[in-house]
């Protein structure tokens, strides 16, 4: 579980102190590579740029879901609705009220935050499986609700935003024919901001409280944090992030139809991406976003309509068995053989405590276990 800590210098794994110059420069290098990749992505042909844009948007949405499901352990099957609410917020504000599309992102964030809080509220009393069902109902109801208010949303006909309202502004120097490049950069910037927000959130006290909510065992370490409200708050932030991803999606697509874009299937796709990339990791959502876009694309030759669902369903099951931490979890574990970052401060709930949980007992009934410490031999 834990690596032998005393190793001679020079041999693998390399020991690096957190916050040291080496660590900083490694981080810098990683960032530079990412930015470089982003630029390379923008220079591919417009079809590729489109795919990449979708992947980045999904990555943001998955990052939002990761907060609730990955870090806090509450399965949400309702994030398709938040994504949809964000998308429709942008769609309506731009097409009906002539807003600058980018400004609508902020509104989406706020609206979805409030919706997230409302959906998260039952979490104060309803837990686990019941909460999953409530979010499921949300996913099912959302397209139906959109269709019920055609005046506002365009109903089953969908909502089309005039292309001229979505064009890149002059200062970007991007012309009409390259407008997908503009959406690509928006998606990339949104994703970068989202990841920074998520990594900050999950690192500090809030992150500790989230994980404490997930693994009851470590709850003791979070004394003084109101775990109940953490759930609601996490739901809010998580929904807000996914909502902003929805806004970016609306810009990219320009036409919205709830029945095809924001159904339960989207929720399952987001969950699949999360699981492939790795729950409770910061970079996992990027991998997940790329996977859920590119896997169906690459396997297009094989599939005839339904095969994609069979494929993703099977992947979900297999991953939970053989790679429950996803690709990033796997990479993380393997990278430990090469580089170890020694934390500055004492770690929060560590991987070790999670593994203990896995190995724990089959019995869940409280009345049969451990009051063992109440009597003492010495009298």
């Amino acid at each position: 579980m834990t690596m032998p800590s005393a190793r001679s210098k020079g041999s693998l794994p390399l020991q690096i102190n957190q916050g040291s110059a080496t660590h900083r420069s490694l981080q810098g290098l990683g960032l530079a590579v990412l930015v470089g990749l982003a630029f390379m992505g923008s220079m591919t042909n417009s079809f590729q740029v489109g795919l990449l844009t979708q992947a980045l948007i999904y990555a943001s949405a998955i990052a939002g879901l990761n907060l609730v499901t990955g870090y806090t352990g509450m399965l949400s099957i309702g994030h398709s609705a938040f994504f949809g609410i964000g998308a429709y917020t942008t769609g309506i504000l731009v097409s009906e009220h002539n807003w600058n599309p980018l400004l609508t992102f902020i509104v989406s964030f706020l609206i979805c935050f409030v919706f997230g809080l409302i959906v998260g509220l039952p979490a104060l009393r309803i837990r686990g499986i019941n909460l999953a069902l409530v979010t499921l109902a949300l996913a099912v109801a959302f397209p139906e609700l959109i269709d019920r208010f055609p005046g506002l949303t365009g109903g089953t006909l969908g909502l089309n935003v005039n292309l001229t309202q979505l064009l890149p502004p002059h200062w970007t120097g991007i012309g009409i024919q390259n407008r997908f490049e503009y959406y690509y950069w928006i998606a990339a910037v949104v994703l970068a901001l989202v990841l920074v927000l998520c990594s900050n959130l999950t690192r500090g006290r809030t992150g500790l409280a989230m994980r404490a909510t997930r693994d009851r065992e470590t709850a003791a370490t979070a004394v003084g944090i109101n775990l109940a409200w953490i759930k609601v708050y996490t739901f809010g932030i998580s929904a807000a992030i996914t909502g902003v991803a929805g806004s970016a999606f609306a810009m990219y697509l320009g036409s919205l139809s709830a029945d095809s874009s924001f159904t339960l299937i989207l929720s399952i796709t987001l969950i699949t991406g999360l699981v492939i990339g790795g729950v409770a990791t910061v970079v996992g959502p990027i991998v997940g976003g790329l996977a859920v876009i590119y896997i169906p694309h690459w396997t297009e030759g094989l599939r005839q309509g339904q095969t994609e669902g069979l494929f993703f369903g099977t992947i979900l099951i297999i991953l939970m068995f053989v790679m429950p931490d996803g690709l990033m979890g796997l990479l993380k574990r393997m990278s430990r053989f090469v580089v170890q970052i020694k934390p500055r401060a004492p770690e929060g709930p560590s991987a070790a405590s999670e593994e203990l949980l896995v190995g724990s007992d089959l019995n869940a009934n409280p009345d049969s276990e451990g009051k063992g410490d109440t009597t003492l031999a010495l009298s």
Partner: protein, 298 residues
């Protein structure tokens, strides 16, 4: 009066199906502590099997038996292969596997049977004239037959739970798995049986429900019913078979009357409304109407 009765009959039929599926959900929940998201898709899968057999001129009753057996095997195998190894890890992992199963089964149905809708032949006389008149309203044999079969099925399940040795062992396993093992109950086998029975009940529900209207056997047809049934199970209390059956019936009737008299509410919005109502109930009584306190799991 006549209109009311017709709404009522339709409501009882839907309610009977919700009740049967809610019972299936409760059976899995009591054993494993999770909701089987794939319950509806399992029922759909077995209904397709039955339909496939009817196209080969196999008598419907025989199709029902084969599909029920297939459902039983499907449920038992699912428990053994997909659930048992993952269940110890976490509830989240289990739910994700079940979502995967949901997706995979539905797509498999599509691959095997295509995505057009079919009409499932009924077990009972099902022509336009096969009805009895009750207070001026038409009560079709298909509906009446469905009520009777579901009533017998539910009765048999309660008999099994409460008056047989196997039922006692199932209840003991649901109450405390470790103590059950320590008393000599083969817990694994009991869980498999529970999932098997659950899926078999679902299979019967599917075969009874789909013939009620033409073209009702399709890829998207079972999921909304599962949603209603889980809402009913939540409402009645996830660990209470009696509560689930009562809530299922109630939900079917209320829904039929509401959408009959208040046409603005219909389609899937109904599900949303049902759920909102149930969430409100759960906020007051998290264990459901008839459930017991300890059901609430983290």
């Amino acid at each position: 009066m006549q209109v009311f009765l017709e709404y009522l009959f339709a409501g009882i039929s839907n309610g009977a199906i919700y009740a049967a599926l809610a019972l299936a959900i409760v059976m899995v929940f009591r054993g494993t502590g999770t909701i089987n998201f794939a319950q509806g898709e399992m029922a759909l899968f077995t209904t397709y099997i039955a339909w496939g057999l009817t196209t080969k001129n196999v008598p419907v009753v025989l199709c029902l038996l084969v599909a029920t057996a297939a459902g039983f095997v499907l449920g038992a195998v699912t428990e053994r292969v997909f659930i048992r190894p993952i269940e110890r890890k976490s509830l989240l992992a289990t739910l994700i596997v079940l979502l995967g199963l949901f997706l995979a089964l539905n797509s498999l149905d599509g691959i095997l049977w295509g995505n057009q809708n079919y009409t499932m032949p009924s077990l009972f006389p099902n022509s336009v004239s096969s009805f009895v008149s009750v207070g001026g309203a038409r009560l079709y044999w298909a509906n009446l037959g469905l009520w009777i079969v579901v009533a017998v099925l539910v009765g048999a399940m309660f008999q099994l739970f409460n008056h047989t040795r196997l039922g006692l062992h199932m209840r003991a396993t649901a109450s405390n798995r470790e103590s059950a093992a320590l008393s000599g109950i083969p817990v694994g086998r009991i869980l498999m049986l529970g999932w098997g029975f659950s899926a078999a009940v679902g299979a019967i529900a599917g075969i009874l429900f789909t013939p009620l209207s033409p073209d009702a056997l399709g890829l998207g047809e079972m999921f909304p019913i599962l949603i209603q049934a889980s809402a009913a199970a939540l409402f009645g209390g996830l660990d209470s078979p009696g509560g689930a059956v009562a809530a299922g019936l109630l939900m079917g009737i209320v829904e039929a009357l509401l959408s009959g008299y208040v046409p603005a509410i219909g389609g899937q919005l109904q599900e949303a409304i049902a759920f909102v109502a149930i969430v409100l109930v759960l906020l007051v009584r998290p264990q459901g109407l008839f459930g017991s306190k300890e059901v609430e799991r983290v």
